[in-house]
Each structure stands twice: as structure tokens, then as C-alpha cells.
């Protein structure tokens, strides 16, 4: 049983850890290359470019080309980290991700930078809330959403060694450290706080909020388990089944559309069991965001600790 991990007040941009770890890996392994779309700055590749100018392939504003070039490098023995703002990487190059990366089994690490609503006021064109739904539908593509800088580092290292088609969602919106010393474990949920009444399954920016919600719920006498589901695909179905056996309801929380992302993935496990448990799916329900900062939009869409706690309390008090 793991000890509860409380979120710390300090918050971090995961891109910093990402860039730092990638440069470290590149120093160890000359097969590591980076491919980007005029995003040297926004993908935090300045240091990488400085140290490895030949191994940074900037194709300009051309995402289809970027992913195809990444696939060609991967099929030639390199380990490309293909980096671009997540909305453009996934939306513009979706067919390249499907055919050139996943179906061709080319070990490209697709790095969706600044995902979710990290670009706040820049609006829905720059939000990447559909990525989890789109990519989860593609066979053979791992979908990874680290929760904090330490897990981002660990996931980057895993991806470099795994040599599998993978998508990493690299957060820009600042998050507290929540995973402690636990390394990223591919395909496995990590229990950040155990509980017996309700389980919250969260990913990325929602994990620290889920921990805060669990703390607040405890004060109201409700015991909440918090699972960090950093691998969205393939999903840790056993952790979901355990949550069904050991708690009375499941809340999912994601900075993404609920039509196909984490919540939908968890629900697909829950409803196919003999005795499903009630669920609440927190996320964005087929809406484009209004204007606002990221923090404002998370509040607008009911993605705060208070919202998660309220959903958990509702389920805890539901008579099965």
C-alpha cells in the first residue's frame, strides 16, 4: 500500500524536464535525433540544437513532412523525437501518424507539446483536447500522458529505449510534483493514494487536482483512491477492475474531450464487467472553449479539485 503523496505548492512546466532529459539521452546515444516544425523554442529544443546541430531536423511549418521525415529516420535506425505543438502535430499529421508511424511500426516518439488547453486564450485552434481520442483509436500506438516533471523525464527515457511508436503529451501548464520517486511504468496505473470508497482515475494536469480532491474528501469522511493513469493506451485494465472490486464508483478526469479519451477508455472496461460501478466522466463534452486563460478554462469546464471532489462525493453517496 502506497503512502499518500500530497501535491506541493511549487509548479513546473514539464517541457523543461522533457528537453533536459532528451539532451541527456542524446549525449548517451547518437541515434537520438529531434525533428520539429519551426518549434525549436516552443518545443524547448534550444539546448539540443546548440549541442547537436546536425541531429536537429527542423522542417519548417510542415507537420505532414515532419512526421514522414521522422518515420524515415526511424526506419533507418535512428530514434526520432518528433516535436510540435500537439494540436498541429496530431491534427495536421494524423494520417502520417496512422500510416507512416503506427501501421508501419516505425519507432517514432511523437511529442505533443503544450497539449490540452495550455494555449488558453489562443483559442480552440491551438487547443489539443481531441488528441487522446484520435490517437487512442490507432492500433499499435502508445499514448502516454505524464503527470509531472519527474514522470516526464522517466517517460522520455522509457520511450528512447522502448523503440515503439508512441505519443507523449508534454505539458506546458504548470503542475506540482506528484509522482515522487516512482518511475513511469509503461502500461501500468500507479496508485498515488489508496482509498476504499471511490476511485479517481486521472492523467496529466488532473492528477494533482485529484490528489487535492482526495484530501478534501477525506476531511468529509470519504476515502478516495487516486490512480495516475499515465498510459492511456494500452490501458491498465486490471487497475480498473481492482477499483471496481474495491471501491464503489469511478471518476475520470482529463484535460481532453470525453468522447474517446481516458474516461471513454475506462468506461469501456467498466461496462463490460458483470457488475459495473457508477462513473462520472470529467473533461470537455464536445465544446469549443471560450476565451480565457488555461486556469480559467479548467474551472469553466469543471476540472478543478472541487469539481473532482464533488463528483467523488456523489458517487460515494450513491446507493448501489
Amino acid at each position: 500500500m502506497s503512502a499518500p503523496v500530497l501535491s506541493s505548492p511549487e509548479a513546473f512546466d514539464c517541457r523543461v524536464a522533457f528537453a533536459d532529459e532528451l539532451a541527456a539521452l542524446a549525449r548517451e546515444d547518437e541515434r537520438i535525433v529531434a525533428v520539429c516544425n519551426d518549434s525549436v523554442g516552443s518545443s524547448n529544443l534550444v539546448q539540443f540544437q546548440k549541442e547537436f546541430p546536425d541531429r536537429l531536423i527542423n522542417v519548417g511549418i510542415a507537420e505532414q513532412d515532419m512526421v514522414g521525415v521522422g518515420a524515415g529516420l526511424a526506419l533507418s535506425g535512428y530514434i526520432p523525437f518528433v516535436c510540435g505543438a500537439s494540436p498541429f502535430l496530431t491534427g495536421r499529421a494524423l494520417e502520417q501518424i496512422k500510416a507512416d508511424v503506427a501501421y508501419s511500426q516505425s519507432p517514432v516518439v511523437l511529442c505533443g507539446m503544450s497539449p490540452g488547453m495550455a494555449y488558453g486564450e489562443l483559442g480552440p485552434t491551438h487547443h489539443s483536447i481531441e488528441d487522446l481520442s484520435w490517437l487512442r483509436a490507432i492500433a499499435g500506438l502508445d499514448v502516454i500522458v505524464p503527470a509531472d516533471p519527474a514522470e516526464t523525464r522517466s517517460a522520455v527515457r522509457w520511450a528512447a529505449h522502448a523503440a515503439r511508436p508512441a505519443f507523449l503529451r508534454v505539458g506546458r501548464f504548470k503542475v506540482p510534483a506528484v509522482t515522487g520517486e516512482r518511475p513511469f511504468t509503461y502500461g501500468a496505473a500507479t496508485t498515488l493514494r489508496d482509498g476504499t470508497d471511490v476511485t479517481v482515475v486521472a492523467a496529466g494536469t488532473m492528477v494533482s487536482r485529484a490528489l487535492d480532491a482526495a484530501e478534501e474528501a477525506a476531511e468529509q469522511g470519504v476515502s478516495v483512491r487516486v490512480l495516475n493513469m499515465s498510459t492511456i493506451a494500452p490501458l491498465d485494465e486490471e487497475a480498473i477492475r481492482a477499483a471496481m472490486r474495491e471501491t464503489r464508483g469511478i471518476v475520470t478526469a482529463e484535460e481532453a474531450t470525453t468522447t474517446g479519451g481516458l474516461g471513454a477508455a475506462v468506461a469501456a472496461v467498466v461496462v463490460t464487467e458483470r457488475t459495473p460501478v457508477p462513473m462520472r466522466l470529467l473533461g470537455i463534452h464536445r465544446e469549443f472553449a471560450p476565451t480565457g486563460t488555461t486556469a480559467y478554462l479548467l474551472e469553466h469546464f469543471g476540472l478543478t479539485a472541487a469539481d473532482i471532489r464533488a463528483a467523488a462525493l456523489t458517487l460515494a453517496r450513491t446507493d448501489a
Binding site: D54, A62, Q64, D65, G68, V69, L75, Y78, A99, D100
Partner: protein, 293 residues
């Protein structure tokens, strides 16, 4: 994954040796005969599967034959050899032509061609590198081969390898914008180790390319993107061979191969309906007789 057929691979090796030693007329005859044998094999596959893209297959087969039987530094028995030349068929719908060529070179047994498009066959309607040796990347959706080939050429340069990357593009697929993104990258980076061959048959699925969305002047377009451009008769094996092996400068090379869709079968030539129409048994007999001439 299919495995090589050592006997056919040995015959291919002998062919390559004889080709290297032969004079121009003998070379032309060797490739012409070989290409028409593949055309016949392809027609048989399509007739059996009742599926395929016969017009484009006939159009591209002289290019594929010249590459695999005259140009590419590959080894059918070592398809993973790191320093092999890379070949990408961007117009993946002409998989039948590629399969017939790969089987003739011994990458896998020719008997496998009988399974084309059948249930669980390795030989899907579009090529799958995970199942078919000699296929470097999965194609089918158009506009994918050139970006991947650019990545392969960048990789060859990064690793200091002299391997060359060849990609065959359909002309119609040049309407896909992704090609021009990649053409720009190749020109910008001066990828002299990259050759794109355009199968310029001037027909796309529904109509003539120039009636659909004008491609000409194609040579000027590639030149403007920083490429060297050569234009040849895409059914003249010697001209193809010379263009594909010509000394390279500091830019990528585009070979515009002027071809005829349905080439070699009189009733198919330059007719738009033969994009993916399936010939009848009688038509296959007639076509096979024409190709044996």
C-alpha cells in the same frame, strides 16, 4: 514476414551480373523481357484476386524492373542489410506491380503471388513492410512516400552512408500538398542521395491530370524547389537506367518518366477506365499474348 526464395535470388544475382557486363542493346532486351514477364504475372494476380490497379501497374513496371534488375544495391536474401539502397513505392495502389517485381528478384517465393489480396495474405492491396521483405514503409494513402524518403535520405547522410534513396511517385498524387512540403525540405537540404521518379502517365483515377488539377510544368516546379530534373521515356529501359544512375550534383534528382497507363496491353493503354477495372479471363489471354510478342 515472408522469406527469400534462394533459387530465384540466385537467378536474380546472375541476371544482375549479366546485365552489368552487357552492352546497351542486350541490356534493353533483358529489362524489356523481364518487365513483360512481371506484367504477365501481375495480370494473373489481378485476374485471380478480381482486384487491383492494372493501369498503374502496367505504367510503372518498366521503372520498377529497371530499378530492381539494374540499379538498386539490394540483396533479396538480406532485406535488412543496413547499407542497402532504399526503395519506396509512394503510389502504393500499384502494389501488384511491386509484388511481381520483388518475387521475380527472389525477395519471397513467386508462388506467394497466388495469394494476392486473399484472406490473411501477406500481399495486401497496399504494401506492408511488416509482412513483405523489400517493402520499406507502408504506403497506400497518397502523398506519404516522399516525406518518408526524405527522412531516409537525411538518415543516410547523418550516418555517413553512401546508400541512395529512390522513391516512385504517381503523377496524380503530386496534387497532395505533403509532397511539396517534402520537396522543399529535400531541396533546402540538398539531398543529392535522393531520387524521385514520377510515373507521369497523365491519368488519375477519374480523368486526365491536366483536366483535374494541372501539374505542368512539372519540371519547372521541381526545379523551383531546388531539384535537378531529368525527363525520359518511362518505357525506354536504357534511358531510365541512365537517368537513374547518372552522376549526382548537390541537389536531389527528379526523373520525370513519361509513361502510358496500361502500357503493353493495347486495349488498356491510355484509357482512364483501366485504373482499377478487372480484366476478364479472355482479356487476360489476349493481354498475355500481346506481352509475349
Amino acid at each position: 514476414m515472408l522469406v527469400a526464395d534462394p533459387r530465384t535470388a540466385a537467378a536474380w544475382r546472375l541476371f544482375r551480373q549479366e546485365f552489368a557486363d552487357a552492352g546497351p542493346e542486350r541490356r534493353r532486351e533483358m529489362l524489356r523481357t523481364r518487365a513483360n514477364q512481371s506484367r504477365t504475372a501481375d495480370l494473373r494476380m489481378i485476374g485471380r484476386a478480381k482486384l487491383g490497379h492494372v493501369g498503374g501497374d502496367m505504367s510503372v513496371l518498366d521503372i520498377l524492373t529497371t530499378l530492381f534488375f539494374g540499379v538498386l544495391r539490394v540483396d533479396p536474401e538480406k532485406p535488412e542489410w543496413a547499407d542497402r539502397d532504399r526503395f519506396v513505392l509512394s503510389k502504393g495502389h500499384t502494389a501488384g506491380a511491386l509484388y511481381a517485381t520483388l518475387a521475380a528478384a527472389g525477395f519471397f517465393p513467386e508462388a506467394e503471388l497466388d495469394t494476392f489480396a486473399g484472406p490473411l495474405s501477406a500481399l495486401n492491396g497496399h504494401p506492408n513492410r511488416v509482412k513483405v521483405p523489400g517493402v520499406e514503409t507502408n504506403t497506400g494513402p497518397l502523398g506519404h512516400g516522399l516525406p518518408v524518403s526524405v527522412g531516409m535520405a537525411v538518415a543516410a547522410r547523418l550516418s555517413g552512408s553512401s546508400r541512395h534513396v529512390y522513391v516512385v511517385l504517381g503523377d496524380g498524387e503530386l496534387q497532395e500538398g505533403s509532397n511539396w512540403e517534402a520537396a522543399m525540405t529535400a531541396g533546402h537540404r540538398g539531398l543529392a542521395n535522393l531520387t524521385a521518379v514520377v510515373d507521369r502517365n497523365r491519368l488519375q483515377q477519374g480523368a486526365r491530370t491536366e483536366e483535374t488539377n494541372t501539374l505542368d510544368p512539372l519540371d519547372d516546379k521541381f526545379r523551383a524547389f531546388g531539384w535537378d530534373v531529368l525527363e525520359v521515356d518511362g518505357h525506354d529501359h536504357l534511358a531510365l537506367f541512365e537517368a537513374l544512375t547518372s552522376p549526382r550534383g548537390s541537389r536531389p534528382t527528379c526523373v520525370i518518366a513519361n509513361t502510358t497507363k496500361g502500357r503493353g496491353v493495347s486495349f488498356m493503354e491510355d484509357r482512364v477506365e483501366w485504373h482499377h477495372k478487372v480484366p476478364s479471363a479472355e482479356q487476360i489471354v489476349t493481354a498475355t499474348a500481346e506481352l509475349a510478342r
